[in-house]
């Protein structure tokens, strides 16, 4: 079956498509959040060593994983936009950035709250925490660069190049931070039990999926606004029912 992918990569088609898709991601996200929270607080048992505190994991781990993952997705879209000159890819990249930055922020915040009861301090210069902090800087750099260039085309392309350079740098940064951390004998996060309980795994899975779906819904909603803003002078925008009114 030959699907014309380029048809879906045009902002015109995607605008309508995204509008239809948002509920399909948003509603499952809400349901999964409800399930995940219920399981996390009422079903999952108390951990032998960490007590109730380990329950932070169910929000900390998904946001940490996804924040890194979103950076790569963002850089991927940016690269597509730069190479094939597709407008939609660049718009997607700039729509992902705020969500990615907020996920990183949540990950840092919950990490600090987890750290306090575990190590007695809000912040430790642990390899993963430090990498997350640097990741937040990279997101902020992308957003700041995009925001300070008035011409949309240059903004897209410059930010895209930065995202690509950043994603090439992420492994180097991660490796160097890890190396630095082992040299300085810092503590690292270790999970107390040898293996996670099956309910914990399921909870984690539900929460990760919920966060993922939520992020997709928000990104789609944001990209719709971006399309509307960028294409406001075109004819198809003025044909839209929400614009005609």
């Amino acid at each position: 079956m030959a699907i014309n992918w380029f048809k879906y990569s045009s902002p015109t088609t995607f605008y309508g498509l995204a509008g239809k898709m948002i509920p399909w991601f948003a509603i499952p996200a809400v349901i999964l959040f409800a399930i995940g929270l219920y399981m996390g607080f009422f079903v999952a048992p108390v951990d032998a060593q960490q007590g109730e505190f380990y329950r932070i994991m169910f929000i900390h781990v998904p946001t940490s994983i996804l924040s890194m993952f979103f950076y790569l997705i963002m850089a991927g879209y940016a690269a597509l936009g730069l190479i094939f000159n597709t407008r939609l890819s660049a718009m997607m990249a700039s729509a992902i950035a705020p969500t990615g930055a907020l996920f990183t922020l949540i990950s840092l915040w919950t990490g600090a709250l987890w750290g306090k009861p575990m190590w007695g301090t809000w912040w430790i210069w642990d390899a993963r925490m430090t990498s997350q902090l640097i990741l937040l800087f990279l997101y902020l750099g992308f957003i700041a660069l995009h925001a300070s260039i008035d011409e949309p085309r240059r903004a897209d392309r410059a930010a895209a190049l930065l995202a690509i350079v950043g994603s090439v740098n992420v492994p180097i940064i991660y490796f160097s931070v890890k190396w630095w951390n082992t040299l300085h004998q810092g503590s690292t996060i270790k999970f107390s039990g040898t293996s996670m309980q099956i309910t914990m795994q399921h909870t984690l899975l539900a929460m990760t999926l919920a966060c993922w779906l939520y992020a997709i819904a928000v990104v789609l909603a944001r990209v719709r606004s971006i399309i509307l803003e960028r294409e406001r002078k075109t004819d198809w925008i003025s044909e839209l029912p929400e614009v005609k009114l």
Partner: protein, 55 residues
Amino acid sequence: MSLDIWMRENPLTYVWFGSYAVALLIFAIEIVMVVRKRKITLQQVHLMRDAGDEE
């Protein structure tokens, strides 16, 4: 430290309000921002269209 003692006595409250409530609040703020941005953008498009009609 009093916070340490309070934390150990009410771990669930600490976990819930400390991380989950904050995370959900951040999500809520993000949703509000996205909705607002859509509203403002639509308004701008309307304004532009009205201005275009008068020309």
